[in-house]
């Protein structure tokens, strides 16, 4: 049976597993009281229904933003995360990193039990033994009076736990813990504190007229991506008085690509620019420093002046002068009087409270190196990977008397520890996190721990109980009961609060404050004729995401490279160096060197090379192992006045390697060749002040028209053309409008607003999660190069173009055709989410010999996996190339390419068939959600309501670019949007009558073009 299509994994296999492990028995009837404790969001556990999802509200802990999420729990285990629509901050949206949390939860490489070092190896042990050992070590430290030298490094988190932890530590006579986050913009936070009195004021893009970003990537990692992106997209959607964005920086990041103008200032020259803008310096001086034309600088100054208090200047600069720079940027706002309008300290975000800087960590490392640290705790943080080599962490750590890691997954640091007390994943534990406007996000377990792990908070309590001195102080069962005892209003209030996972309150125990200040220690700038720009990866961050296949498989939003490290080089530079894409480049700074293939990118200064952090793990599980390089190796240990690691403004030598390794990219051609896939419209045209530049007239072969729209009225486009299928045929079956099923009355359709889409790619991961799409890039998933030798390059299948993403984000460039010869910052980027267009006249359908794909009466282009024989003709005939073939048994556990190594297959969606090898698959418009909505409506004896449900991509989209619904029913939003003036179809001339309508991107003139000045 398992050779049948779609039965790679038995959809109900988890029944067996759970039966065996008894993790939760709810699925087979008996409701275990653990599950009973959960407070459901929609239904209460006493009417738990098998095979029906329940949603538990909790709080995402993947980054400091702490968005509200709903865990979709099916039969006792979470299968997907969704944004909590009732959460004021992320309003139902969620990012790729958040979605991937389930892969952290079900990660096959997690520690499955406590581990203790015996000789060179870590051996499994029991909790009792482990706790006994630790208690003894703590005792020793205390008795030796060295408790004061104990170090506790925690992955930065906000909320009650830090306070709880510090209490515990001080109770043991140990110093406060270090709350580290290697990607947090420490300098900016420090400067914000000084300038606005808030670590992270709310950025009100809605009120902004002009946003000037100095390397502040507010759409890809700087601060709180999701809420910022929501505000940004909503503001831009106003179209007419949308805020304009100027991006200043040496590399055009995702945020930069969304900007209306890119000012490519030399790395480290931002200070000079700010000086010019605030009047503290001359434009000429700034120009000399930054290589930006005087005219542009003056124009920018003017634009800022014109914008009045609509200015929003934000700074993400790193480097030894980062704090000063950020302060100057704040002055721009102060000068413009925009503090309070665009920058709102009052409704700031408390997520960074208690953050420790790199300098603090460095000090701790110093102490370790001195051998004065008897006992060190690490939780989550991975300094062995995220600290520059020159910091010498590993060596110093080795000198610690006894090293304890509470880390849940094996990583470079925990590998060095003596004792591993694996923490629960946040989806398995109680907790909270500080959010915006004094809100506290609550966090509850959504399933029994998958493995034999325990929440660190509970472990600390257990340890305290072993110590007579503390036993009384911690006279509680566990952290949860301790928490409730502190909770305002107690248990009942807690229970009600959990239904929304929101309560307006600060952390229950105050976080011990920490001032981000240090004496700046400039790093060795190094020499060489290139600047090197090191930046956190939008998908993998500093590397924490690297062990999640979804994030590895998700192409970088800018370079579209996955499962790999790459070096970005400007085309003109590439020409000078005489290199092609994929040529191995070695970058050498004062701190060290790395070698990675070149990616030729016109969005980076010719005198700069850029490389992302996140890869280069040596011990982080099968999905991260030996992939790419760790860019931290390039960074010398130096910090700014806030103690933040100075990774900007480095000089490097670049040497061209001889060998050439193919890029693991999903990009075919970065140019549209005038085929009008991602179309744009100048704002002037919309305002009527400007003639239609009839871009699409020359872009689309054939005359553009709005003819396609009648194709949206009815499921089968042939109708639209007024010739219903076969007039002579007596039985048109369910295509007959008279048919009892009334299926024919609907036309499921989608609109995608390119003016909103930022290219963040959250939709892609959402689709993976919802539709059981296999990741194919892991090193073990390659093909055989000979009967004995397998291709084990990371992303081998993607090099072969075999990625499976049902929805992909195409990134096309417009303009700058002569970029190999001259550097110009002015080019336009079009982000186009491309998925099955569900054509009314689908070219893929008639060529299928077995009706495995056909047109359903409600307007879906259906793919029946179990009927498919795999001729792949449909894909050949699909102009949009959105059909994906199962080249291997990605869904078959007995094949080496299996994509969900146990227990990862617990995250499979039971409503969607897992495809076996040899069958075609593609976007289904989340038909399982359509059917589920129909079931619900039927049960309640009604029709499906307008906008009652939506697809996974639309649901996740943090810029609300995707809208799904029934285009044949004017009550649905989609049917209105489809008639927007910007609406168009991709390849309309092919007459496919697609169900996906794109709304043209809106292009704004460069706010600071010298002409205007």
């Amino acid at each position: 049976m398992s050779t049948e299509a779609g039965t790679g994994v038995k959809r109900r296999e988890f029944l067996k597993i759970l039966g065996a492990t008894g993790a939760t028995t709810a699925v087979v009837g008996c409701s275990s009281e653990k599950v009973g404790k959960l407070i459901p969001y929609v239904a209460s556990p006493d009417n738990t229904v098998p095979g029906v999802s329940q949603y538990y509200a909790t709080t995402c802990r993947e980054c400091a933003a702490a968005c509200g999420v709903l865990a979709e729990v099916r039969d006792g285990r979470p299968i997907k995360l969704e944004g909590n629509p009732e959460h004021p901050m992320n309003r139902g949206a969620i990012c790729a990193t958040g979605l991937s949390a389930v892969q952290g939860l079900y990660n096959p490489d997690r520690y499955r039990s406590p581990m203790v070092r015996e000789g060179n190896a870590l051996k499994p042990t029991t909790w009792d033994k482990a706790l006994e050992l630790l208690a003894q070590k703590i005792g020793e430290a205390k008795s030796k009076g060295q408790a004061g030298n104990v170090v506790f490094v925690n992955q930065h988190e906000s909320g009650t736990f830090p306070g709880f932890l510090d209490q515990w530590l001080s109770a043991n006579g140990m110093p406060n813990h270090l709350s580290v986050d290697s990607t947090a913009p420490v300098a900016t936070i420090a400067a914000n504190q000084k300038a606005y009195g808030a670590a992270w004021p709310q950025l009100d893009f809605g009120a902004a007229k002009l946003v000037v970003s100095f390397g502040a990537d507010f759409l890809d990692g700087w601060g709180h991506s999701v809420p910022q992106q929501l505000d940004w997209a909503d503001a831009r959607a106003k179209i007419t008085d949308a805020p304009r964005l100027v991006y200043v920086g040496a590399r055009r990041s995702l945020t930069g690509l969304n900007a209306d103008q890119w000012i490519p200032a030399k790395p480290g020259s931002e200070m000079a620019l700010c000086a010019a803008l605030t009047g503290a310096g001359t434009a000429q001086a700034a120009s000399d420093a930054s290589g930006v034309a005087v005219g542009t600088i003056e124009a920018l100054a003017k634009a800022i002046a014109d914008a009045g208090n609509g200015v929003m200047a934000i700074c993400g600069v790193t480097g030894s002068d980062a704090v000063e720079c950020a302060t100057m940027v704040a002055d721009i706002n102060k000068k413009a009087g925009s503090v309070g309008t665009t920058i709102k300290p009052a409704s700031g975000h408390a997520g960074y409270a208690g953050l420790a800087s790199y300098a603090d960590l460095a000090a701790a490392v110093k102490a370790m190196d001195a051998g004065s640290v008897p006992l060190a705790f690490l939780r989550g943080a991975n300094p062995a990977h995220t600290m520059p080599k020159s910091a010498g962490f590993a060596a110093a750590f080795a000198k610690v008397g006894f090293k304890v890691a509470f880390t849940a997954v094996p990583d470079e640091t925990s590998q060095l520890a003596d004792l591993i007390l694996p923490d629960n994943h946040w989806l398995e534990s109680w907790g909270d996190a500080a959010g915006a406007n004094g809100q506290l996000g609550l966090q509850q377990p959504t399933l029994e721990p998958v493995f034999d792990t325990r929440a660190t908070s509970d472990v600390l309590i257990a340890l305290a109980k072993k110590d007579q001195a503390l036993a009384a102080k911690y006279n509680v069962a566990d952290y949860r009961s301790w928490y409730i005892s502190k909770f305002p209003g107690g248990g009942s209030a807690f229970t009600t609060a959990l239904t929304k996972a929101q309560v307006s309150s600060g952390p229950l125990v105050p976080t011990s404050g920490r001032t981000l200040a240090a004496t700046a220690m400039p790093a060795a700038a190094g020499n060489g004729d290139f600047f090197v720009h090191v930046f956190p990866s939008p998908t993998l961050g500093d590397g924490a995401g690297a062990n999640k296949p979804w994030l590895q498989e998700l192409p970088d939003p800018v370079s579209k490279i996955a499962w790999q490290s790459w070096v970005e080089v400007h085309p003109s530079t590439a020409k000078k160096l005489g290199i092609k894409e994929g040529t191995q480049l070695t970058i050498e700074t004062a701190a060290g060197k790395v070698t990675a293939p070149a990616y030729i990118y016109m969005g980076v200064r010719p005198d700069t090379v850029a490389i992302a952090l996140g890869q280069g793990h040596t011990a982080y599980g099968r999905f991260a192992q030996n992939i790419g390089v760790n860019a931290y190796d390039l960074v010398p240990a130096g910090w700014d006045a806030a103690g933040g690691l100075a990774i900007g403004n480095l000089k490097a030598k670049v040497t061209v390697g001889t060998d050439n390794s193919p890029l693991v990219t999903t990009e075919g051609s970065a140019r549209q060749h005038g085929r009008g896939i991602g179309q744009a419209m100048p704002i002037g045209v919309l305002l009527g002040t400007e003639q239609e530049n009839d871009e699409h007239h020359h872009e689309i072969p054939g005359l553009p028209s709005q003819d396609f729209k009648k194709g949206l009225q009815s499921p089968v486009a042939a109708d639209a053309q007024g010739e219903f299928a076969n007039p002579k045929s007596k039985d048109t079956g369910m295509y007959d409008p008279e048919h009892s099923s009334k299926m024919e009355s609907r036309r499921w359709a989608m609109t995608i607003d390119l003016a909103r889409c930022t290219g963040c790619s959250a939709c892609v991961t959402a689709c993976y999660s919802e539709n059981n799409i296999p990741t194919v890039g892991a090193p073990y998933q390659g093909r055989a190069l000979s009967p004995t030798n397998w291709d084990e390059r990371p992303g081998a299948n993607i090099i072969k173009g075999r990625e499976m993403a049902w929805i992909r984000l195409e990134r096309y460039y417009e303009g700058n055709d002569n970029t190999e010869n001259e550097f110009s910052p002015d080019f336009d980027t079009r982000f186009v989410p491309m998925m099955c267009q569900h054509c009314g006249n689908a070219p893929c359908e008639p060529v299928c010999p077995v009706y495995a794909t056909y047109h359903s009466p409600d307007g879906l282009n259906v793919q029946v996996y179990n009927r498919c024989v795999g001729t792949r003709y449909c894909s050949n005939n699909c102009p949009y190339k959105v059909r994906y073939f199962n080249w291997f048994g990605y869904g078959e556990p007995e094949r080496r390419q299996y994509a969900w190594p146990e227990p990862m297959h617990w995250s499979l969606n039971p409503d969607v068939t897992v495809r076996g090898k040899g069958v075609m698959e593609k976007c289904t418009f989340c038909v399982q959600r359509i059917r589920e909505a129909e079931h619900r409506a039927k049960a309640e004896g009604r029709e499906v309501n307008a906008d009652e449900f939506t697809t996974a991509c639309a649901q996740a989209c943090p810029s609300r670019a995707i809208i799904f619904g029934d285009a044949a029913d004017e009550n649905w939003t989609v049917s209105k949007l489809a008639y927007d003036r910007r609406a168009y179809h991709v390849f309309e001339e092919l007459n496919a009558y697609t169900a996906v309508v794109y709304l043209k991107k809106v292009n704004y003139p460069a706010p600071a073009s010298p002409a205007k000045a």
Partner: protein
């Protein structure tokens, strides 16, 4: 005072199976035909070695198939968007080969082209085996070969039927019909020859086998009468069939809207190509055969000359089609189409395109020279080039088109894997295994038809001048 038939009256009475415009001066009488042909049958060491090699090659393909079924098609070199590759290319290649046989035995028969007589049996056998080979590839190429029978309309408990609008279902019908009919045609022609072998054979077992195969044929006038009629109608049916089959194969491409495929010129273009490659393969087979089997006086230089003219003609048709495709691309002013054709000759796959143009357009022009047309060695070498060129023609049609479609983001490449190569080798092994088995069991020339163009004995030869 015995009256004999007058040649002038032949016309009225319909044709002989073969008209006699290409004579076999070196063949004296009926008995000699029997002797010469039967002489080719005995086993030889060379033959055994050849067969062994063929079987080894076939096995390497077979094992590759088992491997691929276990792991999945990913083991082949496919590189989306190039979803079709070596298997479809090789499929079309062999179907093409399979066309010469029926063309020679059926169409040339209706056209009374006498030169067919000596070569048609070998060509027809080649057809059958080529189609047997081609028929495997659609099954090899699909993702779930074990579900192949779903393409065949048969009542089933799912109440499901194939989609008769799909060119692939047309393929199923065309190929299976073609295989059945060409096999039948071959066998019908063989019946009288089996009778000859039966009567000549001394080894009792072989005699028994031949007498079964000859179905008790006894050369009676009534048998000949129905035989002639049946043969005529089979030919009449096979003629449109040959043309239809490769047209249907071409629909696999022409029905798609892929730039480079979506062209109405495909059916004639493919048919011409098929005949072209078929005749080349006929040379590849018959030229060594006439030498090793000492049949030079049956397949004479006149025969080769005649076939060479067919090749020259079809080569020009094919070449013309190539050029027209470029013209249409320019004329259509459809950008994807234009970019694709530019890419075809100057882009990624320029080398494949030029191999194709060289082998299929340029080299055959040498056949304008009669010297070369009558030079077996050159024809043999040329035939190898044409086979290569025709394989690349299909490569050029399948791969570059798919790799350079409407959606620039999904442009890609293609490199066949070792598995693909194993299948290519295996297909030749499979084909030659059957052909070698054939040549030693069955007459490689139609004895009965050769006898038609050999003059029978006459007692009084007045009125029969010029026969000797």
């Amino acid at each position: 005072m015995a009256s004999v038939a007058h040649p002038v009256r032949e016309g009225i009475r319909g044709p002989n199976i073969a008209s006699a415009d290409v004579q076999l001066p070196a063949v004296r009488d009926y008995e000699q035909v029997d002797r010469d042909i039967i002489a080719t049958l005995g086993f030889t060491k060379k033959w055994f070695i050849g067969l062994a090699l063929a079987i080894v090659a076939m096995l390497c393909g077979a094992s590759a198939w088992i491997y691929q079924i276990y792991w999945g098609l990913g083991q082949a070199g496919y590189e989306p968007p190039v979803m079709w590759g070596n298997y479809i290319i090789t499929f079309v290649f062999w179907v093409g080969i399979g066309h010469a046989g029926t063309l020679i035995s059926a169409i040339l028969y209706l056209f009374r082209a006498g030169f067919r007589t000596s070569i048609y049996r070998a060509a027809e056998a080649m057809t059958v085996f080529a189609v047997m080979t081609a028929g495997l590839f659609p099954i090899i190429h699909i993702g779930r070969p074990w579900k192949f029978f779903w393409l065949i309309p048969y009542p089933n408990w799912r109440l499901l039927w194939p989609n008769f609008k799909s060119p692939l279902v047309w393929d199923v019908f065309a190929i299976s019909t073609y295989l059945t009919i060409s096999t039948t045609f071959l066998f019908i022609g063989l019946i009288p020859d089996f009778a000859v072998l039966r009567d000549k054979e001394t080894n009792p077992t072989r005699k028994r086998i031949y007498s079964i195969l000859s179905l008790g044929w006894r050369n009676s006038d009534r048998e000949w009468r129905h035989f002639a009629k049946a043969y005529l109608f089979l030919a009449a049916f096979s003629t449109p069939l040959v043309l239809s089959v490769h047209s249907v194969v071409s629909f696999d491409f022409a029905m798609g809207l892929t730039p480079g495929w979506h062209a109405s010129i495909f059916p004639p273009y493919f048919v011409a190509g098929a005949i072209f490659s078929g005749f080349a393969m006929v040379w590849t087979i018959t030229i060594p055969m006439r030498k090793w089997f000492r049949l030079e006086h049956y397949i004479t230089l006149n025969h080769l000359d005649a076939t060479a003219k067919v090749v020259l003609f079809t080569s020009m048709v094919v070449g013309c089609a190539y050029l027209i495709e470029f013209f249409i691309a320019w004329y259509s002013s459809v950008r994807p189409e234009q970019e694709f054709f530019w890419n075809r000759v100057f882009g990624q796959w320029w080398w494949a395109a030029w191999i194709m143009l060289l082998c299929n357009m340029a080299l055959p022009m040498s056949l304008w020279s009669q010297k070369l047309r009558r030079n077996p060695t050159w024809l043999f070498v040329l035939s190898l080039f044409i086979n290569l060129g025709m394989w690349f023609e299909r490569f050029v049609i399948v791969v570059p088109s798919l790799s350079h479609e409407f959606e620039p983001w999904q442009w890609g490449g293609y490199t066949p894997s070792w598995i693909d190569m194993a299948f290519l080798v295996g297909s030749f092994g499979w084909f030659f295994m059957w052909f070698l088995l054939f040549v030693k069991q069955m007459p490689v020339m139609a004895i009965m038809e050769l006898k038609e163009i050999v003059t029978p004995r006459f007692k009084n030869t007045h009125g029969h001048g010029g026969h000797h």
